[in-house]
Symmetry: C2
């Protein structure tokens, strides 16, 4: 979030105060100063933080100082949409491959990125240096593709399947559960008691 706000400001000014960042992000200024202190960024009292230094430092902490090769597993509706989204929007995470098991999809491409058969994962992952996988397969297939991907050397996952995936503790799995998000929305619908 800091990177996003800083990118907007980068051309216009050289420094930014924690108070101004607070206004733009919605976090408190103390929180921001604590965060920055935590990853070693230091500001100038009476002035603020240098934007370019901050950007470099945050990128370095997040591991975004070079592009990170990624793959999308599952080239159905959601997988395809996510691939398009990531390819076009994100410069830091580069989607270099898709995987699927459907022979009608394998061999085609999305925005110039090839769809490989899931069995080719080990070789393709190694060849392209892929480090991140976005999982968008049907729930019953999720555990299996993650197992395969872990064996191929991937340790970071963004999982869209609504299932709890088991993996070694050094594997990071970040879940986005659309069903859960949708259902929890119902709670906030006002006037539920109306006819």
């Amino acid at each position: 979030m800091y990177l996003r706000v800083l990118a907007e400001l980068a051309g216009r000014q050289r420094e930014i105060t924690s108070a101004e960042l607070a206004r733009r992000t919605g976090y408190s200024s103390e929180q921001i100063r604590k965060d920055f202190a935590c990853f070693g960024a230091l500001g100038t009292r009476g002035v603020g933080y240098r934007i370019d230094v901050l950007q470099r430092q945050i990128r370095s902490v997040l591991g975004l100082d070079r592009p990170v090769p990624a793959a999308v597993i599952g080239a159905g509706n959601l997988g395809t949409a996510l691939a398009r989204y990531s390819i076009l929007q994100d410069r830091d995470i580069q989607v270099l491959a898709l995987f699927d098991v459907d022979p009608r999809r394998v061999g085609t491409e999305i925005e110039g990125v090839a769809i490989h058969h899931a069995e080719e994962m080990p070789s393709v992952v190694r060849r392209l240096g892929i480090r991140i996988a976005i999982v968008a397969v049907p729930p019953p297939a999720a555990q299996g593709v993650v197992d395969t991907a872990v064996e191929a050397g991937i340790t970071a996952f963004l999982n869209f399947s609504p299932v709890k995936i088991q993996a070694a503790e050094w594997v990071h799995i970040q879940n986005i559960d659309l069903s859960l998000e949708l259902q929890s929305l119902a709670y906030y619908v006002s006037a539920r008691s109306l006819p």
Copy 2:
């Protein structure tokens, strides 16, 4: 999450203990008992909670005791995929309409659900009783479509645009920021220091 686990168990058994739910969800048993106490569910000491009572009670608290009509705003790649996903997967949240401004899309349909022009939002929302909107439009358009939707009477949003949306405090906006999720993944990629 409780509903998902309970649905799996519903046929097989009548009661469930907080300890067993803890095993299946990953939350602690005390947490679960506190949650259940909080929304008025009560179990039987020595036995556990009745699954059917629990389901009814959770649905009632969440406002899922009847289907909730919803719409998807933005029928691009992501919007279309989300619509398909919601229509097919979710029985509690019913996507009854899509909205877009592109005349090539307006008038067509996705899985039998019509794509309307965004200008028709007020009348369509009123006619179909829509209470939830899933926002999947380009960032610059997000604030505008939310304003329109709020005026049409929608108070709950699931926003996929990477922008902070301003709205009255009685409007609930839940954000899913794919860029942020992706970028934060980079942090968990192991061996960042390798060549």
